[in-house]
């Protein structure tokens, strides 16, 4: 069945942003499905290093609504490999046209356990020591979380600057609302396209930097007692549906992991919705 889905989809070039944590205001093209795999290798001061990984299925339901399914897992060295949960994410474009600042609303439901280490965001008082707990114990704690973000993004003179503020509520316990942030800036290495199809043209590379961290919670708001990271990012958008991303991240305080290495690969399936429509008997 899956092969049939992909067989009928059309391959077009993706134009991915280089960020891993920060979101800009660009949504998935309507009817397109993007399948992405990401890794997050983390070094741990007190405890075993880990390799967390996740798969994203990102679908452009309309030009103003993108929906995503995440499946998360991780391997902690000298410990075990565990499936850590799933996330359902939706992003909604608020304004119809481009403005200097473009807002996007983000709503996500997460059903993950406390062994999750993909670090797709840092929130509340997240610290490195949280990831030192053995998988057998951490995976016993289950969280049902509602996560909201306000994404503000601007593109000017080739630069994209994006700022995200997030608020998270654990729906299962009495935990207070927790907060976090992510900011990023990026630019293609060349703004004009060359006339020839090429893999290594400068315009195929987008480089930048992102910074993210926690902002405490409702009762203890601020930059203290949480972790912060600075991470250069680069994306390579091939003249095909494939994109690659790489980001070494560096902890900025003693609560942070010393080093994170993220990488990802994604493939775009354009026209996926039309294929599904035909299979479900939609009008031709």
């Amino acid at each position: 069945m899956c092969l049939l889905f992909f067989w009928g989809s059309v391959a077009v070039r993706a134009q991915e942003s280089p960020y891993f944590v920060t979101y800009d205001h660009y949504l998935e093209e309507p009817g397109s499905l993007e399948v992405e795999y990401f890794s997050n290798f983390g070094m741990q001061h007190a405890g075993n290093d880990f390799h967390a990984f996740w798969t994203e299925f990102e679908y452009g339901a309309t030009a103003w609504w993108t929906t995503e399914l995440y499946l998360d897992g991780q391997t902690t060295f000298h410990d075990s490999t565990v499936f850590t949960g799933f996330r359902l994410e939706n992003r909604f474009r608020v304004l119809q046209r481009e403005h200097f600042i473009n807002p996007v609303l983000y709503v996500e439901y997460e059903q993950i356990n406390e062994a999750d280490k993909i670090m797709k965001e840092v929130e509340g008082h997240d610290v490195e020591a949280d990831h030192a707990v053995p998988n057998a114990i951490a995976s016993q704690g289950h969280n049902h979380e509602l996560e909201t973000k306000l994404i503000l993004s601007t593109t000017f003179a080739g630069w994209n600057v994006s700022e995200n503020t997030l608020a998270v509520k654990n729906l299962t316990g009495g935990d207070p609302w927790e907060f976090g942030y992510a900011i990023g800036a990026s630019r293609p290495l060349a703004l004009k396209a060359s006339a020839n199809r090429c893999s290594f043209c400068r315009e195929n590379f987008i480089a930048g930097v992102e910074m993210y961290g926690g902002l405490g919670d409702r009762y203890s708001f601020g930059l203290h007692e949480t972790s912060h990271y600075l991470a250069p990012v680069i994306a390579w958008n091939l003249p095909s549906p494939w994109s690659f991303r790489l980001s070494p991240g560096f902890g900025l305080n003693d609560n942070s992991h010393r080093f994170l290495l993220r990488w990802g690969v994604s493939r775009e399936f354009s026209g996926f919705g039309a294929v599904i429509g035909r299979m479900l008997g939609g009008h031709r």
Binding site: Y26, P30, T67, L69, I276
Partner: protein
């Protein structure tokens, strides 16, 4: 575990089904509405000149970009498809480069065309150069009836 997968998969299927049902049943006048957006370009934007109009490589680069980003909806030859209108029609032919650039930048989000400001400004002008080089086809496709399947 199985419950998790069914919950997550079910949500995605609902979105896919809604989009799949919505996409083919667009009203026939959708393309005309998209063409009409060209006229909504602010006069200052519509009056902008293409800074690459004398660039000998702009059309070729625009053709490459069109194949990579636009042909899937507008057809390989820009004659349109079920997903997007023809660009070889009088409203596009007669539009100013500035109006085309404005439409590319802003999209027609409620009609299914995404914003393309993620392409750097010079690349959008290269696309405009290519689109303006196409010329209009004969009249019957002026409403965007697809020819390429």
């Amino acid at each position: 575990m199985i419950r998790i997968f069914f919950t997550a998969g079910g949500f995605l299927l609902i979105a896919l089904f809604a989009a799949a049902q919505a996409e083919p049943s667009r009203p026939p006048s959708r393309n005309a509405l998209i063409y009409a957006e060209l006229a909504k370009a602010p006069s200052k934007a519509a009056a902008r000149r293409n800074p690459l109009e004398n660039d000998p490589e702009a059309v070729a680069a625009g053709e490459k970009l069109f194949g990579e980003h636009c042909a899937n909806c507008h057809g390989e030859a820009a004659n349109g498809s079920k997903r997007g209108p023809s660009l070889r029609v009088d409203p596009v032919e007669s539009a100013t480069p500035g109006a085309l650039f404005w439409l590319l930048t802003n999209g027609v989000v409620r009609k299914g065309m995404p914003v393309w400001s993620k392409l750097p400004e010079p690349q959008r002008w290269q696309l405009v150069s290519y689109i303006k080089s196409l010329g209009a086809a004969s009249g019957p496709r002026a409403e965007g009836q697809p020819e390429v399947h």
